[in-house]
């Protein structure tokens, strides 16, 4: 079986986000880019499945401008065999066209299993892998914290509300999205990093499609005004009273 892992490059969680001059986009100057942490779980799971002898090859695939190849190299350094760079410009807020371009690129790979992080920590859409599943016409198990793959079938434990789980049985090929708890992603070893430099990165250019949604403006949230700080446990009755009478939340 061939496993394709969808990977996204995102700003580090510590990043300060600034708007561009006219407020139509974000100023990404000086941002530290990382492999989306949820995609690390997906890469790790693919490598574990391969190490268990249930897959022959792990290909990582990412979409975006040239800078995203660095995130693909991170995944290659963890142990993936090959990478596909779906080359586009910067994201314009149209999730559908991203998913379509990735689905087309996946189709060329004859994948038995597509893994991805359940969400990307930049736009938090939780959407692209599900759209890819639809475009491929296969089943999906979204937000999965336990996975078993065996003989053309997968069993996935999908996290739903309040810690409950749906157990999903799925015929492969299919799409599974990883969340925290699925595994502990490995760190890239030094030899892994060296090897990653020589691993193949195939570049594909997707057909341009019409955007169905468009980012028109960006804004920053209003800073929360600092509130009142009380000293000591003896202030509890006062705070409780304020929560009812002033904040009206109890």
């Amino acid at each position: 079986m061939h496993i394709v892992v969808l990977c996204k490059q995102v700003p580090d969680t510590e990043s300060r986000i600034k708007l561009n001059a006219d407020g139509t986009g974000f100023d990404m100057e000086g941002i530290k880019w990382i492999l989306n942490p949820y995609d690390e779980y997906a890469v790790e799971e693919a490598l574990k499945i391969k190490e268990a002898g249930k897959a022959e090859k792990v290909t990582v695939m990412g979409l975006g401008p040239d800078r995203i190849v660095e995130a693909l190299r991170t995944a290659l350094a963890m142990g993936a065999d090959a990478a596909v760079h779906v080359k586009t410009g910067e994201d314009t807020g149209d999730t559908s066209s991203v998913a379509k371009a990735l689905a087309d690129a996946v189709k060329a790979q004859d994948a038995g299993l597509v893994l991805a992080g359940c969400r990307a920590i930049d736009d938090d859409m939780f959407a692209v892998p599900c759209m890819v599943a639809e475009y491929l016409g296969v089943g999906q198990a979204h937000v999965v914290s336990k996975l078993e793959v065996d003989g053309g079938k997968a069993k996935a434990w999908r996290d739903i509300d309040g810690g409950a789980k749906q157990v999903i049985e799925m015929a492969l090929p299919g799409v599974v999205t990883a969340t925290k708890g699925l595994n502990e992603p490995r760190y890239a070893s030094l030899p892994g990093i060296m090897k990653a430099k020589r691993k193949p990165v195939e570049v594909v250019e997707p057909a341009a499609g019409g955007a169905k949604a468009k980012l028109v403006k960006c804004s920053l949230p209003a800073e929360r005004a600092a509130g009142r700080v009380f000293e000591g446990v003896e202030s509890v009755p006062e705070v409780v009273r304020l929560l009812r009478e002033e904040a009206k939340v109890i």
């Binding site: 930049d122 959407a127 089943g139 739903i160 789980k165 157990v167 980012l215 700080v229 509890v236 904040a247």
Partner: protein, 323 residues
């Protein structure tokens, strides 16, 4: 003119609160677009369901009665059928765990414009526009839905529920037929808590590393019981094994949007703030007066949480006993 279709979430044959939020906002959007408001509900025991959503403005309710369990593909098929029958130009979901699974699948099937987890939605020049947090709430993206239909997920607790009015709705029965399904739910494992999920909770009490051990979360549970809250945790508490992953609030956990968020022994790392910054009222309790959480809190108490939590539980009990 464009109709708006709401995708209901049904629990024990009743619409969830998030569904009432969708109806309330959906009615406004339908009005602005000069269309009608419809709803689609899938589940079992749904006889009379239309009467439960009609007071919130739904004129027509598509009901697929007889679906025993959830299915991404099955629900997508039925909702796509309802969209076609209704001629809906806007389809609204609640962006909880079900909506996150279903809405993108439907959007891809319909070749629709898509955005989710929106905290605002409006109509500008006949076009639907949405506002959604990005970079974990550090900024907002304003997106114009150029394509039709538009499939939009709304963040729970972002829109008020309108006062129910009179009115009746026409029921249109749809077959509860999932068709050929490749992924099937074979079992549902119950969670450790019967309280609302963090993403939908109106009140949350969260513990951080200062909780010191898993057993100490019991005092937060007691407080949560009194005020009807869901218990959350910081990443530090989860990574230390004090709380399960399903309770983590923050950039790599759940994004929450309650009216009241109480943080006990949480210092307020940027990644935690990212997950709870839209909370209406924030209370922070920490021994360290320099903890960054105090800069975001409406009410802060500098004290030992192990003294504050039981005292607070007692005070809330007294207050609620007064009525």
């Amino acid at each position: 003119m464009s109709n708006v279709l709401i995708v209901c979430e049904v629990k024990n044959a009743e619409p969830k609160k998030s569904t009432l939020e969708l109806l309330s906002k959906g009615k406004e959007i339908a009005g602005a677009l000069g269309g009608s408001l419809s709803a689609v509900a899938i589940g079992s025991g749904l006889g009379g369901f239309a009467d439960k959503v009609a007071p919130y403005g739904a004129a027509k309710v598509y009901v697929a009665d007889g679906a025993a369990e959830y299915s991404t593909e099955g629900f997508t098929k039925i909702i796509a059928d309802a969209v076609a029958k209704d001629g809906a130009g806007v389809v609204l979901f609640s962006a909880g765990s079900q909506g996150k699974d279903l809405a993108p699948r439907l959007a891809a099937r319909l070749e629709a414009a898509f955005a989710t987890d929106c905290v605002d939605i409006g109509v500008d020049g006949g076009k639907v526009t949405v506002k959604r947090p990005v970079f974990a709430g550090k900024a907002f993206a304003h997106i114009a839905m150029e394509g039709s239909p538009a499939v939009v997920g709304l963040r729970p607790n972002s829109f008020p529920v309108a006062e129910p009015a009179g009115g009746t709705a026409e029921t249109v029965a749809l077959p509860a037929d999932f068709g050929d399904v490749k992924a099937k739910v074979v079992e549902v494992v119950a969670g450790e808590s019967s309280r609302p999920d963090l993403t939908e909770a109106e009140r949350i009490v969260s513990g951080g590393r200062a909780m010191k051990e898993a057993a100490n979360f019991k005092i937060l549970e007691e407080l949560a019981d009194v005020i009807g809250a869901t218990v959350g945790a910081s990443r530090a508490a989860v990574d230390s094994g004090y709380a399960p992953q399903s309770r983590q609030v923050g950039q790599t956990g759940k994004t929450v949007n309650p009216v009241l968020y109480m943080a006990f022994g949480i210092s307020g790392a940027i990644q935690h703030l990212a997950g709870m910054r839209t909370s209406k009222v924030i209370v922070a309790v920490n021994k360290d007066p320099e903890a960054p959480i105090f800069q975001k809190a409406d009410y802060g108490i500098v004290a030992d949480l192990f003294e504050v939590v039981p005292k607070m539980t007692e005070e809330f009990k007294k207050l609620l006993a007064e009525g």
